[in-house]
């Protein structure tokens, strides 16, 4: 990624570092911490909460997803190709008289054009969502941390990745401490 520092941080044992994980006690604390991390200019980081927190994406400064554009483009392409396919098959390649209609009756092609538009839109929405989220993945470094388990119960986490261009072991830790983290630890890859 363009924001990557290119540096690799390792622990004293020599293991590469994934990032720094900070725990927060309440949604409000996490929300304000997210604002501080955002304002500090980090880009490769994420928050983890047991339930959705409205407005957190703004506090994190997340841009709007590109998925709708992707879906629109693929859906229109799918619909267009669907129409051309039928036109070519029925009108050009193997003309058959059906119901006494002209070979290239556009009306007859609409349902399949529509369905192919929907189908490609649905597939793009699902697969695109997974791809943009980096899913599926069978493991994540955070799962090694016992403390992270409470992220599905009553604790709130920020994890800033070592790959971030602004990442610095000391300053990033200081930022999270300043933001009110109740616990901070390094996460190995």
């Amino acid at each position: 990624m363009s924001t990557s520092s290119g540096r690799v941080y390792v622990t004293e044992a020599g293991e590469p570092i994934h990032g720094i994980l900070a725990e927060f006690g309440s949604p409000a604390d996490l929300y304000h911490a997210a604002e501080k991390v955002r304002d500090a200019g980090y880009s490769r980081w994420d928050t983890h909460t047991p339930f959705p927190i409205h407005g957190l994406e703004d506090a994190m400064g997340m841009p709007r997803t590109k998925l709708p554009v992707l879906v629109a483009v693929v859906a229109l392409t799918g619909a267009g190709l669907g129409f051309l396919m039928q036109y070519w098959m029925s009108g050009v390649d193997y003309p058959l008289v059906v119901q006494g209609k002209p070979y290239d009756s556009w009306q007859a092609f609409i349902p399949i054009t529509f369905e192919l538009g929907i189908l490609s839109a649905a597939f793009t929405a699902l697969i695109g969502m997974l791809a943009l989220n980096g899913l599926p993945r069978h493991h994540h470094p955070l799962f090694k941390k016992d403390r992270f388990l409470s992220g599905s119960d009553d604790k709130f986490f920020v994890c800033i990745e070592a790959g971030d261009g602004k990442f610095d072991p000391d300053r990033t830790r200081a930022l999270l401490e300043h933001a009110g983290a109740t616990s901070i630890e390094l996460v190995e890859e």
Partner: protein, 440 residues
């Protein structure tokens, strides 16, 4: 909660009310002028002034009346849909939907001149009322729908009766629609206004209960009104998709008019922080969804008729679409104007969130809505003829009648909107609506 208390300050009287009587004379003037225009066109048709036929006059008056009826039916639909779904976001926009729905008794009254003229003249536009057509087998088979318990065929001789028969069942249904629409719109508006004063949540529960059976009554009355008053213009034609077509236009145009009401209120500096870009976003989504719905059902109707090729059905579309037909251009315009253009424009989020942009789109939507009803009715005036000059003659009369009847509704809203608080202040969902955001 403190946020709820803070949001409540947005409900300051100044922000959610217009001074009572504001614009009243303008509104009443507009109503009077509009009604005068509509009736003048009918009068011209009767007297044959400037060569206008009565059939033409009744048709264009019908287009205007059914157009505004569709909008107020759309208002009623949204009020009931919001109640039934326990919708939170819509609490701040429901009052204006109620105002739109409260036009229903008047919209019904606007239809009376058409029904009166048609019955009195034994069918100029509704040819099934004309005794000359009693010999038609298609009409004889449908006669009970219009004339029961009377009959247009003599029981003993099986010959068509001489002289016009009173369309009893048709008139009974027309009265039923009036009663249903008046009752539903008045009751839902009354409960909502009562809540403004009493702050009693059980009133919302009553409104919800009314909406439950009301939605069914609405669906049946709207469907049969569209059969009776629009589809019967071509009595040989039949389509079970027809009411859905009319309803799609109704929900589409009703929401478009609501958007314009709110855009106007916002431009007056009202509803600050009460109706937000988030609410406009949702209204835009509804317009968008109903333009897609309209395209879906109107194509479905066309498609099945085109495929099955049954003469009585196909005639409707053939006359409007064969190469060289004077109406072909209007049909293609509707495909683009009523579907493709609003669809592509409505895809963009900034358009839906901006009162100005969505307002402009809504103006366009109202225009194509009238064009849609025009496409249903107007070709029947010169049915069989395909002479563009004859068809386009008196086009200004069409404009006067349609704009006139629309002005009646606009004038009514100008009078009605300031008459109560702009939002149902004590609605149980008010806090939720004030905090409404689309988290996507």
């Amino acid at each position: 909660m403190t946020t709820a208390a803070a949001s409540r300050t947005r409900l300051a009287t100044d922000n959610i009310s217009l001074s009572y009587g504001a614009g009243r004379s303008t509104g009443l003037g507009l109503m009077g002028l509009g009604l005068l225009a509509g009736l003048a066109v009918l009068g011209m048709g009767f007297s044959g002034a400037m060569g206008l036929t009565l059939k033409h006059a009744v048709a264009v008056y019908l287009i205007g009346a059914m157009g505004v009826l569709a909008m107020s039916l759309g208002g009623l639909f949204y009020v009931m849909a919001f109640h039934l779904t326990n919708a939170g976001w819509s609490a701040t926009i429901r009052r204006q939907a109620e105002n739109l729905a409260s036009f229903l008794p008047f919209a019904w009254l606007l239809m009376l001149p058409v029904l009166g003229v048609e019955i009195a003249t034994h069918g100029t536009l509704y040819l099934w009322l004309n005794p000359d057509y009693y010999t038609d087998h298609a009409l004889q088979n449908k006669a009970a729908f219009f004339y029961a318990p009377l009959s247009i065929v003599d029981h003993d001789t099986h010959e068509p009766v001489k002289g016009a028969v009173f369309p009893a069942f048709f008139v009974i249904r027309a009265v039923c629609y009036g009663l249903i629409w008046t009752y539903l719109s008045r009751r839902l508006c009354r409960l909502s206004r009562e809540q403004d004063v009493k702050a009693n949540a059980s009133l919302a529960a009553k409104a919800r209960f009314t909406s439950a059976w009301g939605m069914l009554a609405f669906a049946l009355s709207t469907a049969f009104a569209s059969f009776d008053w629009l589809m019967s213009v071509d009595f040989k034609f039949f389509s079970t998709m027809w009411p859905v077509w009319y309803f799609a236009g109704s929900a589409f145009s009703g929401m478009s008019l609501l958007v314009l009401v709110f855009a106007r209120l916002k431009s007056m500096g009202k509803l600050e922080g009460v109706v937000t870009p988030e609410h406009f976003h949702d209204k835009g989504k509804l317009i968008f969804s109903f333009t897609v719905f309209w395209a879906y059902i109107s194509f479905s109707q066309y498609f099945l008729i085109w495929y099955s090729n049954i003469p009585e059905e196909t005639a409707f579309f053939h006359y409007r679409s064969f190469v060289g037909s004077a109406w072909r251009g209007l049909g293609i315009f509707l495909m683009i104007g009523h579907f493709i253009a609003p669809f592509l424009i409505g895809l963009f989020r900034p358009v839906k969130k901006s009162p100005l942009a969505l307002g402009l789109l809504a103006v366009w939507c109202l225009f194509v809505h009238f064009a849609d009803i025009y496409f249903m009715v107007r070709p029947m005036v010169e049915a069989g003829s395909n002479h563009p000059v004859a068809i386009l003659s008196h086009l200004w009369v069409d404009v006067v009648a349609i704009v006139g009847l629309f002005a009646v509704l606009v004038g009514y809203l100008i009078v009605k909107v300031p008459a109560s608080s702009l939002v149902p202040v004590n609605d149980p969902y008010m806090d939720e609506a004030l905090e409404h955001r689309n988290y996507v």
